[in-house]
Structures are given as C-alpha cells and as structure tokens.
Amino acid sequence: MKHLEDAVVTRNRQIRPGIWSMWLRAPAVCAESRPGQFVHVRVGRDFHPLLRRPLSIGRVHEDELELVWRIVGRGTELMAEATEGDAVNLLGPLGRPFTIDTDAEGRILIAGGLGLPPLVYLLESFRERWKKASLLLGVRGRDDIPLAEDDPLLREVEVVAERGDGYRRGIVTDPAAEWLTRREHDGGLENVALYACGPWGLVRALQGLIPANRLRRAEVSLEQQMGCASGVCQGCAVEVEDGDTPYRLVCTDGPVFPLHAVHAPALV
C-alpha cells in the first residue's frame, strides 16, 4: 500500500559536487518500503514544477529514509534548498522491489553512478541475513561517487573510476566480468543473483556480458519520464519482452525488470 506522506527533513547536505543526500522522517513509507522501490517527491510549491520527481529509496533506518540525487534541473535544485524541519510530500513506496532471493548463493550488485542508492539499500537488507554480497560501483571519477567521503559504507563498495582518482581505473563491467568468471569456476553461475541499476549504457553492457539464462536471476532497475508513478497515466512505458504487450510501466511493473528482457528506447 502506498501513502501520501508529509515527510520531515532531518538532514540535507551536499555529499559530492552537485550530489545531495537527504534524510527524511517518513514512518508510513518506511514501514512498507523494500529495496528497489522509489518515492515520487513533490518539489516546489503550487505547480512549479508541475510534476513530482521520482527518486529511489536509498537506505532506510527505522522511520527514516535516505534520498540521494544529482542536481540536473529545477526539481532536483529545489530539493537541495530544503532544510531540516521542512516538510516534503512523498508518494510511496512505489513499484516492484528487487527480488530477495533466499536461495541464491552468490550475489553481485552492480551500480552505475546515481544507480547506487537502491543497491545500497539492497546491500543493507542482505547484510541483515547473509554476509556475502559484492557491490560494484562504476563512476567517472571520485566526485561522482554518490556516497559521502566519510560514509562507512564506502568501504564496502568496490569503486571503479574511469579517471582512476585513487580507485581502480576502468569501467564497472571489468570487475563484474572478473567476478563472474571467478564464480563460474568455483560454484558456477546457476545460483548467482545479479542486481543492477544505472544508465542504459551499463544495462546494454551487462546484457552483452552475461548470456541470458546463465544466472539464477538478473534484475535491473530502470528509469523513465514519469507522470503519476501509480499506473494511471501510462506515461512511463519501456519496451520489455516479458509479457503479452511490448510495453511495461516502470512505475508499477518496474522499476525492476529482468535484465535480458529490457530494450533501450529508440531515443536514448
């Protein structure tokens, strides 16, 4: 069940240039939220901007949740202006979460840039039950890591940076390929679950890297322009080959879909 909740900002700070992290007290949303879900955030007053903005639910600690975003336009800019004590109206939790696969034996989480927050949430929820899950993050450089430098979680993430910047230089599919090869040798891929979130480039690369059906499960979280985020407007369609129609809605059928079923849109 989703809620319309006036959440209260408990902390809002810039963690990297242009990247912000906000913690919100939102008991109703937190109580039902699952990794992979998102909230639809009312930004601004009156109807400027007109639409809400979809943001993945990052970490959830008790009745507080974290949102992490990059400023790309007016909506995300306005969110950066909120300060402690401000109310921010959330619609959520929304969408189908990642599948928490209790029978999987290996778990690899692969994020591209701002795709990290939902995977951090997933990692934390895995940690409650299992020790081992690898979280890989690909970024351009240090400034693009959507975690604060002082965040203890940063140590649990294997960062790959195109520019190096003190991290392994390269792209995130490099360590992903190594991980999968290693895994294939000891234990096989059949029991592995892969979870990904990032730009279309990453999605395509992963589709190329991993033949369909070799893994136990491969899920990816997608983005699309959204209107209602509730299955009302039919606006957030993406091409996904797993049903009787060619289109699926990111807001209700997703945002999490089987990796190999999704098609990049023509205009991306």
Partner: protein, 318 residues
C-alpha cells in the same frame, strides 16, 4: 461526507446529479482504483475512466511524456486494457460510490464505439459515457472525429440509439471554431460536452536535436492551457443549450470558479492529479469556504454568470 451545516456543492450536468462539480479527467485517474490508497474516490463528484477501446491497446512508443514547464506533453496513444477487462474485472470495484462513474470510450471506427457501448450497457452502475473523439495521439479516428461535425453528429447519434445513459462528447480544441462540432454533438443527442482535450504541442531537445516524444508531437495539458480552455468553454456555452464540463489546466478552486463563470456546469481535473491525487478533496473544501465567504447559495448560479458589462465582443477597428 457532506455536513448539512456546510454549503452544498452539488450540481447537475443535465440528467447527471453530482455531489460536487469535480470530476477526475480521463487518463488522469486510471480506472478509479490506482489512487485508492491515497485519496478517497468519493471526494470526487465523479470520475472519467481512461478511454477504453474494444480491444486492449498498447499505446505509442516511449518516451511518452515531456514536461514543458509548467505543463505536460503526452503521446500515450490511448494505451488501455480494453472494454472487456474493465467490464469484468474493474467495474464491479468502482461502481456504487458517491462519485459517479463515467466511462470514456475511444475507438478507431464508429462501429467500435457502438460495440463498446453495447458491452458497457450490460454493466450495472455506470452513470454515463464520455465519447473521446478528440485524442491527438492516435493516427486513425481520435481528433479527426471531432474535427468533422458530420462525423461527430453521426457518431453521437449512433451511440445515443444504444443507451439511455448520460453521454458527453469530448471535443478537441485543435479546430478553428468549436461551434460546429458542439452543435453537431448536441444535434446528435449528447447530454453534455466535455471541453477540452489536449492541444497539439511539441518539444525538442536542443542538445540531442531529438523530439522529446517518440511521436514528435503530442497533447499539451496542465495550467498553461487554462486560458485556451476557458475561451473554448465560453464559445461552447454560447453555441449550445446542453451543459458543458470544463477541462484544462485546473489546479485550484479559483480555476474551478472561473470555469463555472465562463459557462461550465462542472469541471474535470486532469494533469494536476499527478502532482496531488488528493487535490479534489482540498478543492471541495476550498469551494465550501468560497461559497460561505462570497454568499453563493448554489454553484449552479455561477454557470455562465460572466458579467460582460459594457464589455464588447471584439471591436470593429475604427
């Protein structure tokens, strides 16, 4: 629940009696269930379903939405579940409340409108139909129907023969004058007109040089279209004797009052619902306050009450 001590928001739109003048617009409220968790459907006077066709439609290629501050372009292409699923699975869950259920119908050819209506006639609890003959996002039918007055009249007349339920014809603003279409719908036997559907618009991404909608052009909605919608409601009000449901950019109670003054008997809220699904309840409360403060006994006295005073219609240049 209406408090008897509070102003009564009820209005009539021809034979349709509403406990308040606020409909949710087609395409902006799904089939009536999607927002159930977060907003009470009965705070609406009525709601219009997503337009239904005979068979399910998959809609247009993505991207289908582009925000053009502070409005919205869409090219959904009438993606819908088809009349059968609605009749069987959804209708039983959304009938019988205080909010009237108006089913929107959109097809490619006239015969299908009749077929859909015939199927819906079997479903109890439907309060009326809105004939969407004005969608800018489909290649056949759609907007073309309501651009042709003869087609409009025939289509309405055919449907009229199939049902005694309330019928409203939803017209496109993408015409030189709405008068002929409005009169054609009236002549065909419509109980009301729904004005307006979206305006054809387009958005371009200057960086990629690509259209922001896969279909290149789409339908423009939201607050920026309000002035256009008000002009069409006024034009329609002066052209026909059947009531008008005003639609376009409504986002607060003042907008509602303005549409009533310009000639609407009720209104529909569309795009603004995406920002706030609970908006109708808030607007209803605001309308009660308005009636109290301004001493308005009944909202229907506002309909068409535009005081043109010494105002002249467009003047002849001297």
């Amino acid at each position: 629940m209406s408090d008897p001590a509070q102003p009564d928001l009820s209005v009539r739109v021809g034979s349709l009696a509403l406990h308040n003048p606020l409909f949710a617009a087609s395409g902006c409220y799904g089939y009536g269930l999607e927002y159930a968790d977060v907003a009470d459907r009965d705070e609406l006077g009525g709601f219009v379903t997503k337009s239904l066709s005979l068979e399910p439609w998959k809609g247009n290629a993505p991207p289908r939405l582009a925000e053009v501050s502070p409005g919205l372009l869409n090219s959904i292409g009438l993606a819908n579940m088809g009349v059968e699923s609605f009749a069987r699975e959804v209708a039983p869950q959304v009938t019988g409340g205080r909010a009237k259920l108006i089913v929107s119908v959109a097809c490619n050819v006239m015969e299908e409108y009749e077929q859909v209506i015939v199927r819906l006639e079997e479903v109890p609890g439907i309060d009326g139909y809105e004939l969407n003959i004005s969608c800018p996002n489909v290649e056949e039918g759609g907007m073309a129907f309501s651009r042709n007055p003869a087609v409009t009249e025939e289509l309405v007349a055919r449907v009229r023969k199939r049902t005694r339920r309330w019928i409203s014809a939803k017209l496109t603003p993408n015409v030189a004058s709405i008068v002929e279409g409005a009169q054609a719908a009236e002549a065909g036997g419509a109980d009301a007109l729904s004005l307006i559907n979206t305006i054809v618009g387009m958005a371009v991404d200057w960086k990629t040089r690509r259209p922001r909608l896969a279909t290149i052009t789409g339908g423009y909605s939201g607050p920026p279209i309000k002035p256009v919608a008000l002009a069409k409601v006024w034009e329609g009000y002066n052209a026909v004797n059947i009531p008008i449901v005003g639609i376009g950019g409504i986002a607060n109670w003042k907008d509602v009052v303005e549409f009533l003054i310009a000639g609407a008997s009720a209104v529909q809220i569309g795009t603004a619902l995406y920002a706030d699904p609970a908006l109708p309840g808030k607007i209803a409360a605001d309308l009660r306050r308005f009636m109290e403060v301004e001493g308005v006994a009944s909202l229907s006295e506002l309909t068409g009450s535009l005081d043109t005073g010494h105002g002249v219609t467009v003047g002849v240049p001297a």
